[in-house]
């Protein structure tokens, strides 16, 4: 800092208590400066592309020629003329219904087990969290493909043949890769478990409640907000799964479209077939669908999510 800065700065350091509008605006200006990285990022990298993609979804943009307006054609084609589109919707729904509950169950089970661990806590937590850090990477997905391929580990151990080459099994191989990355929901569950007052368990034990009874009557209700949070988050993520499906199916969503997830088909339409307009329309339908599913989850949550302190109302 140069010396000339100092007098000015010192002068401003002691503002009169009621500086009025001027100081407030200055402070606001500073706030905007600090916000600018986020504002710039959100508007230039998120909002603008979204607006462009909404426009493109009504055009036949093919990445090479200027877009031409086609009205709702992309949308009507998607719903009425594209058999593969509906296959990708079916595959995605099946995957969400399969992978999300399974992953949450595993995360909760591990969190419960870790809660009672006394020694080397940090080690176990890191060890179980590690797959979440690794799992999103392309390399793990490729290893996964090798493990579940013909002549791979699973084929040799179980004699089932490679899973990724059989339409009935390939989706399960991808779902298992997701389930294996249970680290993030596990950590959240663990935090939630530690929030539950120990007195509740003590009181229940005095009353002679079994462990199972304690789990159903104390742990689950007390944990339901966390469960809900994890459910919403993982469902949204599951709808957008891409990397594992791409790598495990070698980029083709095969065999026989059995791992053709929505996002994979979107990628195929946009980047392989160069139908960016169509892919944009697909992206918007996905956004709306995820919004709708999340809204439904929130609606149902009133029935089963219990917030501590509610009963006192």
């Amino acid at each position: 800092m140069t010396t000339t800065d100092i007098p000015a700065a010192t002068a401003r350091r002691t503002p009169p208590p009621a500086a009025g509008k001027g100081a407030g605006r200055r402070r606001e200006g500073a706030a905007w400066v600090f916000l600018s990285p986020w504002v710039l990022g959100a508007s230039v990298l998120t909002l603008l592309p979204m607006a462009v993609s909404l426009y493109l979804s009504f055009t036949d943009y093919d990445m090479f020629n200027p877009p031409r307006w086609v009205g709702l054609r992309n949308y009507t084609q998607m719903f009425t003329e594209d058999p593969r589109y509906w296959r990708s919707v079916g595959t995605t729904l099946l995957y969400v219904v399969l992978a999300v509950p399974l992953q949450l169950a595993v995360a909760l089970a591990v969190a419960l087990a870790l809660k009672s661990v006394r020694r080397a806590k940090g080690f176990y937590r890191s060890a179980f969290y590690a797959p979440s850090l690794l799992g999103a990477s392309m390399s793990i997905a490729l290893v996964w493909r090798a493990i579940f391929n013909d002549g791979g580990t699973v084929d040799n151990l179980l004699g089932t043949g490679g899973w990724v080459t059989q339409p009935g099994w390939a989706l399960l191989a991808v779902a298992l890769l997701t389930v294996w990355q249970f680290g993030a929901p596990m950590v959240i569950f663990l935090a939630g478990l530690q929030q539950i007052p120990a007195e509740l368990y003590e009181a229940a034990a005095v009353d002679g409640a079994s462990r199972a009874r304690q789990f159903v009557s104390i742990t689950l209700p007390m944990l339901s907000p966390v469960l809900f949070f994890n459910l919403v988050l993982q469902t949204i993520q599951a709808f957008q799964v891409f990397t594992p499906a791409f790598a495990v199916s070698a980029g083709k969503g095969g065999p026989a479209d059995s791992t053709l997830f929505y996002t994979l088909y979107l990628y195929d339409r946009g980047f392989v077939a160069s139908h960016m307009g169509y892919a944009s329309a697909m992206a918007w339908v996905l956004l709306i669908a995820i919004g709708a599913v999340t809204a439904v989850l929130f609606r149902t949550s009133r029935a089963w999510v219990f917030y501590a302190g509610e009963e006192t109302r």
Partner: protein
């Protein structure tokens, strides 16, 4: 410290501005100083082609000390996707290998340089005018043809001989081919070939054997649901008999020879293009032999000589002259031709071809002899496929997956394909 409180926002702004400036400097335009020119050159192919191309490129760099060529290659499927993304982003490589199926799309999209603009350094006099014209789109020379190729039934003669089955005869029909595959399978216990049902190329050969074509003149499909149903019923029947590769092997095809049934050692033969078949050499060995494609039942040949590979330059390259020099070197330089051999097919430069062909050895010789053996008996090639064809190729094999995994009947899948193709070609 307190002094920093008010200056910090400005410091932050300056930092941001500087960062933006620095990022702008570090952009793709890295040719800035010293007159040193960097070209990017990409192609698809097998490791053999890559090794030879690298050697040719090294020669070029020695000849042009100011130019550095960065190369990269991939299997066809991966290459196709990557190039499309790069081209769409305005980041196409300076020099790129192109397929017949890509020329139309990329040229009309303004991705490709009109190579005639660089005729001072890029000579085309030694190329047959008819062949040269296959790279023209709307009067511009969008791509320079590098070779012509034709499809082949490639097989391992060692395994074939061991079965005692008579070798393929020139002019064999699809029916004879199927019967031969049956016999091979009976004697050897493994499929005779990769299932051709997944291949749009094979379907085209079969169609042409019937006197039909994949696309009509002026666009649109040249065949009906019935035609495709017949083809898929034929191949699916062979699959059910165990005469061609299983669905699980077929679905793993990705344009590399390593993942074909022949490459994995699970079949005796495969369909491919002649020059790329060199990729099997390292796997199959010296028994690698090329036979003509089966023809229609009345002996009408379906295969044709296709301008198999083009090389083009990016319209927005910063160094059009150097890019053209590289292309010229690859096509017209005798020394480069000696290194490249027939790795992309028999060269198109006629004086080089006359000089090179008698000297070819090994598999290059095999390709040259194979082309000689079918030359003159084939019908004229179809016009360049419409731009949607590149995507339809993939759709074709995916729809056949539904048949080979027995999730759809050949007719259902054929109806799906025709629906998708009509939307694609609209």
């Amino acid at each position: 410290m307190p002094a920093d409180r008010t200056t910090r926002p400005w410091a932050l702004l300056v930092t941001l501005a500087l960062t933006a400036l620095l990022t702008a400097c570090g952009g793709p335009d890295d040719s800035g100083g010293g007159g040193r020119v960097t070209l990017r050159y990409t192609w698809w192919g097998n490791p053999d082609r890559a090794a030879r191309t690298e050697r040719a490129v090294a020669l070029f760099e020695k000849r042009h000390p100011g130019v550095e060529v960065q190369t990269s290659f991939a299997g066809y499927d991966a290459y196709k996707q990557k190039l499309a993304t790069q081209a769409a982003g305005g980041d196409a490589p300076d020099v790129m290998q192109l397929d017949y199926r890509m020329i139309d799309q990329y040229a009309t999209g303004g991705v490709l340089l009109d190579l005639r603009e660089q005729s001072a350094v890029l000579r085309t006099d030694d190329i047959d005018p008819g062949l040269l014209a296959t790279g023209e789109v709307d009067g511009a020379l969008a791509g320079l043809v590098q070779a012509r190729g034709t499809e082949t039934f490639v097989y391992d003669a060692a395994q074939w001989k061991a079965t005692g089955v008579a070798p393929p005869r020139a002019g064999w029909t699809w029916q004879e081919w199927a019967d031969t595959m049956r016999e091979l399978t009976r004697k050897s216990g493994k499929p005779g070939a990769t299932d051709p049902g997944q291949s749009e190329d094979c379907f085209e050969v079969w169609l042409r054997g019937l006197g039909k074509s994949l696309y009509r003149e002026g666009g649109g499909l040249g065949f009906t649901v019935d035609d495709l149903t017949r083809w898929w019923t034929f191949t699916d029947g062979l699959r059910r008999e165990g005469v061609v590769s299983t669905a699980r092997q077929t679905t793993q095809l990705d344009g590399t020879v390593e993942n074909t049934a022949l490459g994995r050692g699970t079949a005796i033969g495969d369909f491919n293009w002649d020059a790329p078949a060199s990729g099997y050499l390292g796997i199959v060995g010296d028994g690698l032999t090329l036979a003509p494609m089966p023809s229609g039942e009345d002996g009408r040949p379906g295969q044709y000589f296709k301008p198999s590979m083009f090389v083009g330059a990016a319209a927005n390259t910063a160094h059009p002259r150097e890019a053209a020099q590289l292309i010229d070197f690859l096509i017209n330089d005798p020394e480069a031709a000696g290194v490249l051999g027939a790795s992309r097919g028999i060269p198109v430069n006629e004086s080089i071809r006359a000089d090179l062909v008698p000297k070819l050895e090994g598999f290059d010789r095999t390709v040259a002899d194979y082309q000689d053996s079918v030359d003159g008996s084939l019908e004229a090639p179809p016009q360049a496929p419409p731009s949607g064809d590149s995507a339809l190729q993939t759709t074709f094999s995916r729809d056949y997956d539904q048949v080979s995994f027995e999730r759809m009947s050949p007719r259902e899948a054929a109806e799906n394909y025709v629906t998708e193709a009509k939307a694609e070609l609209r």
